[in-house]
Symmetry: C2
Subunit: 223 residues, 2 copies
DNA sequence: TGTACATCAGTGAACGCGCGTTCACTGATGTAC
DNA sequence: TGTACATCAGTGAACGCGCGTTCACTGATGTAC
């Protein structure tokens, strides 16, 4: 028996047809099951229903496959963040809250991607595509940071880059310490989402956002 | 040739004398070189100059050895943090700054410990000793959080636990994204220490610390 | 102080296993004419 | 529309390797008397 063709009903003859995709999916499945360490080239091939030599037609080695997975991960991550940010609608604070939740949701529902991206020891510069995907995901955070400080005067306005890095680090810290599904998760007296939201609110408060004495009215939604 | 006896001048006969220690040190060395994944029981034994069967006298399996390494790590981590905090002398803000630097310094100078502690997939509850060491290290952060909010009135005082968790998550996020020595480090337009310090300052500002309209005088050090 | 004995800690040989990688190969697909 | 041929993608057998684990064993150490 062979599970080689998961999606679609195409017949699997001598040629697989979409082996590259199948290998990436297999890698994701294996990483999800046993972490980025417990995944081998040979097993990915077996999972795709293909001989152990076949993967070499598509990837130089295990690392190249992993880097590809990480790249896909960053692409999906960037899309999820962009969707959550939704161009800052209806206002930056509301959108930022969604962004934070989307960050944690991604880390939780796509642990395989997340660990390939951040914990597999892959250099973010190991391929131009990976680097680009990485930067594009981070760009969402930067855009959000810029929107948040847009109303501030030059005097009190903090660097957007710094703001973005702080939010990223906090979200990543919470995700990797408390937000994972596996055994390494630490117990927490609240949900990761609550912890992140509270942290970001306090932090923005420290920056003077929302700009309490600014031109725009605060216009808070009820609770 | 055999490097079996690193420290001390004891003779190595049939008995190693301190194999358990030697294996832990070997594991640290191997993890530092190749990450927590690239470390095997057999290689640790070879490193200690001992037959591949010998480690079984001291550890049930690879995971038990890893958990032991993580435990040592948390012990050393807790000590380093406690030393940096120094009971909050001369004041909580100064001590907190040292604490943050000590956190990042540990992650950077002891990457093997750090990854065994946080990235090797070991459950923090996998042994009572590990759990205790873990809690003791976190207790320092909690103590610091309590000292920081000590002067605040019950009205505005935030929960110490939350404060400690936020600082921990931010420090961990920065350490794992930007503070490592290996290839996975991401470039940063400032030092991790500066990023952390700035983040913590903004965060505390958001909480109303230092308590600008409190009873105690601010007493800021120059610069 | 010496001896007998129990316990401890490491030996070394052996096993089965899965991995990474290579190789000449072959079935399938696409394309020029 | 058909045929010849080049290229592509996967085969399957083979290799050397290091790992984890076991086993009966043996040298070293400690202790009772």
């Amino acid at each position: 028996m062979s599970w080689s063709k998961h999606g679609g009903g195409g017949s699997r003859g001598y040629h697989h047809g979409n082996l590259k995709e199948a290998l990436i999916r297999a890698a994701l499945e294996l990483i999800a099951q046993k972490g980025p360490a417990g995944f081998t080239f040979a097993e990915a091939a077996r999972w795709a229903g293909v001989s152990p030599a076949a993967p070499y037609r598509h990837f130089r080695d295990r690392d190249e496959l992993l880097a590809n997975v990480a790249q896909r991960g960053f692409e999906a991550f960037g899309e999820a963040l962009a969707r959550a940010w939704d161009n800052g609608r209806p206002d930056a604070m509301t959108a930022l809250d969604r962004l934070g939740k989307a960050y944690l949701a991604f880390a939780r529902t796509e642990p395989a991607y997340y660990s390939a991206m951040f914990e597999a020891g892959i250099a973010p510069t190991s391929s131009p595509e990976l680097e680009a995907a990485n930067e594009q995901a981070f760009a969402i955070l930067r855009t959000a940071a810029e929107a948040l400080i847009a109303g501030m005067s030059g005097q009190t306005r903090p660097p957007a880059m710094m703001l973005a890095l702080h939010i990223w680090a906090l979200a990543h810290g919470i995700a990797s310490l408390f937000g994972r599904g596996d055994a390494a998760r630490r117990p927490l007296p609240m949900s990761p989402e609550e912890l992140l939201e509270a942290g970001v609110l306090v932090y923005l408060q420290g920056l003077g956002i929302p700009d309490t004495d600014a031109t725009e009215p605060p216009e808070r939604a009820p609770s």
